[in-house]
């Protein structure tokens, strides 16, 4: 199959970007979206042009590195029949001869570094602000020493599957990082290990989220719709609950 790509090209963080049109020939329907971009880049390299820069690593849908906005939806969710990362989106989801728009995540806290690559360091700093448990190392504890109810364990596990790709921010009309933050809050709030720092964690992570310049949540729901790991939208209400509870207790209690 042949496709026409309209790709965002931007030389570096400070330069102006624009959409550039490319033809990609002989695309296999079984190629992933990234393999199709590889094909384009091989072609560009042969022609002596600058290849399109894009982030990627595992190409198995679990690392969170890849991610572009395809035809106006993060990870091409609008084209994919199932929640997906860009690397797991296949060209069979597109028609032969399709015109496909490819853009980077657009949000103030995610500045474009080059072409389709954005700096998601803001997410790292949110995690550094409280997305951890302080456990003194020592011998491994006995299994079942800390019993966790099945429902809570499931919920913690579901939330912990967040790969930090940033699609939630890219899709949000407010550019809010709330689903990402809520996933970590919910993950740790469901587990006994997360309890000692629970109230302090929510305050610190929200403060960091806001200071990074992310917008506020207005409960629209675009984030959960594009999330490749299907982080539930209701984790945000868990975050709100913890935040409200933390307002009535002193820091660290």
């Amino acid at each position: 199959m042949n496709v026409t790509l309209r790709v965002w090209r931007q030389a570096n963080a400070s330069s102006e970007g624009r959409m550039v049109t490319y033809q990609v020939q002989d695309v296999s329907p079984d190629m992933s979206f990234l393999e199709m971009l590889d094909l384009l880049n091989e072609d560009l390299t042969v022609k002596g042009e600058e290849p399109v820069a894009f982030d990627h690593d595992c190409r198995e849908g679990i690392c969170g590195m890849c991610g572009v906005v395809i035809n106006g939806t993060a990870h091409g969710r609008g084209n994919s029949p199932v929640p997906t990362t860009t690397c797991q989106l296949h060209m069979r989801s597109f028609e032969d001869g399709a015109v496909i728009d490819v853009e980077p995540w657009r949000a103030g806290p995610f500045p474009v570094i080059k072409d389709l690559v954005v700096d998601r360091g803001a997410f790292d700093r949110i995690i550094q602000a409280g997305g951890y448990v302080s456990v003194n190392t020592g011998a491994a504890p006995d299994a079942h020493a800390n019993a966790v109810g099945k429902l809570k364990a499931d919920r913690a596990f579901d939330a912990a599957t967040c790969i930090g790709c940033g699609a939630c921010v890219a899709a949000c009309p407010n550019s809010s990082g709330m689903l990402f933050t809520a996933a970590k809050i919910t993950h740790l709030a469901m587990l006994p290990q997360g309890q000692p720092e629970r109230k302090l964690r929510i305050k610190n992570m929200i403060a960091q989220h806001d200071s990074e310049g992310f917008g506020g949540c207005t409960n629209i729901g675009e984030c959960a719709e594009v999330c490749p790991k299907q982080i539930p939208f209701d984790t945000i209400s868990q975050l709100n609950r913890d935040l409200i509870a933390s307002l009535f207790s002193r820091d660290g209690k």
Partner: protein, 210 residues
């Protein structure tokens, strides 16, 4: 945002209920209007005080609600310095998308509504002697009924997203099922408000109340 919004939804439900007293006749409605402005909480507070306490709470709610909305809007704009060339929404409802501009439009019409029925400086039909006559006189005008039909529609759309959103912000969206229930309740409240508010002006227009 959520708390002030829910206070205002509570007020809307009460206001709607009060309007329906029009169906009980002039005496009942005028007596109700009199009670609203004078007798509530008397003798706990002197006559006529409650309405001003109530108005102060409402003004504070509106101001704080708008302040929160403007803050959120500004943060959203700051967080979105460059727009997408192509953007497709997957989950957003029309009500959710129009919360901001819709809010401005309904606030503008609120000023007209207050000038008309509270301050009495924008009465279209002219002189009246009782609240009942005033309501009947104003809603005899076809475009006034139409204007209110449109305005209440914007209010109810705002309530449709606002009701669910307020509860989600306060932590009530605990599961996919809870989300469905909250959205269902939001629809129910919005429809109840629309029907409850519009049934009286329509009845006046067609002469069922006169």
């Amino acid at each position: 945002m959520a708390v002030t919004g829910l206070i205002m939804i509570g007020f809307l439900l009460m206001h709607m209920y009060g309007n329906l007293k029009m169906f009980l006749g002039a005496e009942a409605f005028d007596h109700y209007a009199e009670w609203l402005k004078g007798d509530i909480l008397y003798p706990l507070v002197p006559k006529g005080w409650f309405i001003w306490i109530f108005r102060a709470v409402m003004v504070a709610s509106v101001v704080l609600h708008m302040y929160s909305a403007i803050t959120l809007w500004k943060r959203a704009m700051d967080a979105n310095p460059s727009a997408y060339q192509v953007k497709k929404q997957l989950a957003q409802t029309y009500s959710a998308r129009t919360m901001r501009w819709g809010g401005i439009i309904l606030a503008g019409l609120l000023i007209f509504h207050l000038a008309q029925f509270t301050v009495h400086s924008a009465l279209v039909a002219g002189a009246y002697t009782t609240p009942y006559e005033m309501v009947v006189g104003e809603f005899r005008i076809w475009w006034m009924v139409l204007l209110y039909a449109i305005w209440i529609a914007t209010v109810c759309m705002h309530v449709r997203h606002g009701f669910w959103s307020a509860f989600a912000t306060l932590g009530a969206n605990t599961s996919a099922k809870a989300r469905a229930v909250l959205n269902g309740c939001a629809w129910a409240v919005a429809l109840l408000l629309y029907i409850g508010f519009m049934i009286m002006p329509v009845a006046v227009f067609f002469g069922w109340i006169n």
